[in-house]
Amino acid sequence: MRYLPLTAADRASMLGVIGAKEVDDLFVDVPRAARLAAPVDLPAHAGEIEVERSLRALAGRNTPAGDAASFLGAGAYRHFIPAAVDYLIQRGEFLTSYTPYQPEISQGTLQYLFEFQTQVAMISGMEIANASLYDGASGAAEAALMARRVTRRSGVIASGGLHPHWRDTVATHLHWSDAALTAAPADAEGREDLAAMITGDTACVIVQNPDVFGHVGDLSPLAAACQAKGALLVVCVAEVASLGLVTPPGEMGCDIFVGEGQGLGPGLNFGGPYLGLFATRERFVRQMPGRIAGETLDADGKRGWVLTLSTREQHIRREKATSNICTNSGLCALAFTIHMSLLGEEGFRRLARLNHANACRMADRLAAIKGVAVLNDAFFNEVTVRLPVAAKPLVDKLARDKVFAGVPAGRLYPGVAGMENLLISCASETTTEADIEALGRALEGALR
């Protein structure tokens, strides 16, 4: 087997050194009855040629988004990722290293995490950030738990514009805690007023901007309301590219920022691995979950980095830890850091403008279709449209002609009234005029 270096002779000589007769002597502690006498009933090993053939056959049964005119977003965004990003993250020194527990030989990882934290803080407008979480949704759950610790209150309010996956993830995580979630109803028009829901026991209010329907809103009034009542404002950003153009959470009074960095990091990947971004105020740092890289000096007085403030973490604090997270999204954070480095101030902002410009074009084309109404006044790269028919069958039909028209709101809100005819459609810098025209024509054709 190509991945196993020990030969029969190696094994024999090693057993000799150990003083065992056969390998099974080393498994003495395993109850004899439970030991398998033979390999389990699964196919035997296969060479690279055969394995690649099997995998290509499976891959061939899918339609990559890039082969279609794709307007899918709703929590996962397809951006162009420069070739240098994927090249660099594949370097063995990054790819095949572990969490940087030994900083002297992990400065590469530690330095990029420090850079990542700085980038996340900058784009979100926050003071400090951690070294990543699994994804945005679980980050929102961590934020709710953190707000509980910070405020010692138990009420968590979720906006009706929060992505249902995020909302549900928060719900799951709070279910057996002593915090309680109140979720506002789905708010396709972007009209809800959460301020009225805040009470003296509210730990935090969780909102998303742009929200799951694409609406961009001013959160400052809500932040003021939170502050007045002693609650924290958690702002979620599922489309990180929006931060290049939209007023960042940190400038609207946000206390905890949670972001999904997938779009500028690992890519689509059918939903994972993704990249949780998490930032907050400096004064909350000891309640922040997840790893943090910090600056220090070495024995020669040279600058270097280490994982720090680990007394917050499970391996030190165990059941009192801020979170149970251990492995996070290191390599996705690296992809993000590299991509952000390539973009820089100018590129990041222009990328956002391009997304917005294409979305404006898309929205205009959609609005021009008879019977179709765009629900958004203010948006970034995504809008919700009301169709005269149910969205899901239409989307399925169009997919056959390689037009992925958008995400039916009904898929995110199964069984929720008023959602069936809504379609959430998204553009990006990769969207061409031809794509938009293909969408327009396909919809017109189907609605005729």
Binding site: Y3, R11, M14, L26, F27, V28, V30, P31, D41, P43, R56, L58, G60, R61, A65, D67, G75, P82, F94, T96, T99, I105, S106, Q111, Q117, M122, Y134, H163, T172, S177, G217, D218, G244, E251, L268, N269, F270, V285, G294, A299, G301, R303, W305, S323, N324, T327, N328, G330, L334, L343, G344, E345, E346, A357, A378, F380, D396, A399, F404, R411
Partner: protein
């Protein structure tokens, strides 16, 4: 908090930075530049960037009239501008400051740092997997769902368990998933009184932290002097308010719990569930099926046993194998097969009505599934069994070869990792940390240190099955050589190690006391300057 301070000179713009010319007797590390040939110092990107530089070429949209409701971002974000060559060089240089499996032995106990096949990476990058949006119409992702389905089949066969939950993002989330199914099951049966979870002292920190997240009270159970659960103590703690036992097996001392079947029975008799932390599954994959040991639920780390890369700290993937009694509570989404092919059940209705719900967005770590599945097909059932045997053999080989050099924590053979304590080092007044740092100079990644906590100055050594014997022998020679150095009065050399790494020992106390967690722009220079 203070600002990030570069060691080297700051870039002076507009002129040749003559201030950087050091005295002729040699500056930093004896060179003018502070570099040492291929070991090149590298500043932060924020110290390199320049306005007007950009590493991407994007067209400026024509006549953009923003529709942002007035919420346009105003001030500078502060991101540095770098060209592509600078970015490639920056991250190349950073990478050169890392140790990695690709470079040498990485015997980090409990972490299973095995070879990461490049075929896995190639397959994960096929557009038919990597470029799928999670919310595409299901008819366009049947191959992806089929892969998830077949991965499930493999994991079922290897664990003997009837159900697999794929969503968890890593081991710790797998634990959370598993413990939540237990709590949901107790809830469903009205057992609200079961609020205690028994966790051995030797457990990984994620275990108690996870139990706490489920609202459980953690009750530590002691180890016996053979490094195993003290079965009597365990039994004494079992009772009507115990929800579950969380046990790692093979345990974090690298030992198999020989009484595991008895333990399982006692747990079940007490009305509790048996959670197994399967982080160490590599030791037994293909040799024993957890279901046959009486385990009710176990997470696996695809990034350990199934070779998906650790990537400097993730991403991972932590599928959970579930007994029939816990399967109804599996998290969303469920993969079900229907008349039109495979289908994702994304809501807690019907069959899935009892689900604990969502743990994260979408359907799990697909990128990791592709890699792990590629690995499984490559090894096959025969190869996976060989994996366990070779992993255990290699650990025992190290144990046997080093037992007179270091002090083994326990007698008898180990599983996939061997554990030493610091007894043999104490007389030299050298700590486990010192010894670990000395291994760095020798070209090896240190072992896991100070874990598990039940052993004083623990060194947990996990070679994995993908190390050639020659590399194990080099490691043995290095450990013996360091010991010989101690015997001949060279302790100081170890206490000040490492000497040759990109950085010497780093001041962790300083980092925590005066936290600098991000770069900040330097204060504007004085006008006089």
């Amino acid at each position: 908090m203070s600002d990030s301070k570069p060691t080297g000179p700051r870039r002076a713009s507009g002129t040749v930075d003559t201030a950087a010319v050091p005295p002729a007797d040699g500056g930093l590390a004896g060179t003018v530049s502070g570099n040492r040939a291929l070991a090149i110092e590298e500043s932060l990107i924020f110290e390199q960037g320049e306005a007007g530089r950009c590493g991407v070429d994007l067209p400026e949209p024509a006549n953009l009239k923003p529709r942002l409701g007035g919420l346009e971002r105003k001030g500078a974000i502060g991101l540095p501008g770098l060209s592509e060559p600078e970015v490639v060089r920056h991250f190349t240089r950073l990478s050169q400051k890392n140790y990695a499996i690709d470079a040498g032995l990485f015997p980090l106990g409990s972490c299973t740092m095995k070879h990461n096949p490049r075929l896995n990476e190639k397959m994960a990058r096929l557009p038919g997997f990597a470029d799928l949006h999670p919310l595409q119409p299901e008819s366009t992702v049947q191959g992806a769902l089929a892969l998830m389905d077949d991965l499930t089949r493999w994991l079922k066969a290897l664990t003997g368990m009837p159900a697999i939950a794929l969503p968890p993002a890593a081991g710790a989330q797998g634990e959370l998933c598993g413990m939540m199914t237990i709590r949901a099951a107790h809830d469903a049966h009205g057992h609200d009184e079961r609020r205690r979870v028994l966790v051995p002292e030797s457990a990984h920190g994620t275990n108690p932290a996870t139990a706490a997240l489920c609202g459980y009270h953690v009750d530590a159970i002691p180890a016996n002097d053979r490094g195993r659960v003290d079965v009597a103590a365990l039994k004494a703690k079992l009772g009507p308010n115990v929800a579950a036992l969380m046990l790692t097996n093979p345990n974090t001392c690298g030992l198999f719990e020989p009484d595991i079947i008895e333990i399982a029975k006692a747990v079940h008799d007490a009305g509790a569930y048996f959670y197994c932390d399967g982080a160490n599954f590599n030791a037994i994959v293909g040799k024993v099926r957890p279901a046959d040991l009486g385990i009710d639920v176990m997470h696996m780390n695809l990034h350990k046993t199934f070779s998906t890369p650790h990537g400097g700290g993730g991403p991972g993937s932590g599928p959970v194998a579930l007994a029939a009694s816990l399967a109804p509570y599996a998290p969303l989404p469920w993969l079900v097969s229907g008349p039109d092919g495979l289908h994702l059940q994304e809501e807690a209705t019907g069959e899935a009505a009892a689900s604990i719900g969502r743990l994260k967005s979408f359907h799990g770590q697909m990128g990791m599934f592709v890699r792990a599945y590629t690995y499984m097909l490559s090894h096959g059932s025969d190869g996976l069994r060989q994996v366990a045997e070779d992993a255990v053999l290699s650990a025992n080989y190290l144990l046997a070869a080093l037992k007179d050099t270091l002090t083994p924590a326990f007698d008898g053979p180990c599983m996939h990792e061997c554990l030493f304590d610091d007894e043999g080092l104490r007389k030299y007044e050298v700590s486990t940390l010192d010894f670990a740092k000395a291994l760095i100079d020798e070209g090896f990644h240190p072992t896991t240190i100070y874990f598990p906590l039940v052993v004083h100055g623990a060194m947990l050594v996990e070679p994995t099955e993908t190390e050639p014997k020659a590399e194990l022998d080099r490691f043995i020679a290095a450990v013996r050589g360091l010991k010989a150095r101690l015997d001949s009065g060279g302790a100081d050399r170890l206490r000040t190690a490492p000497h040759f790494s990109p950085r010497r020992r780093l001041d962790e106390t300083r980092a925590a006391r005066q936290p600098v967690l991000r770069w900040s722009p330097p204060a504007p220079r004085q006008a006089a300057e």
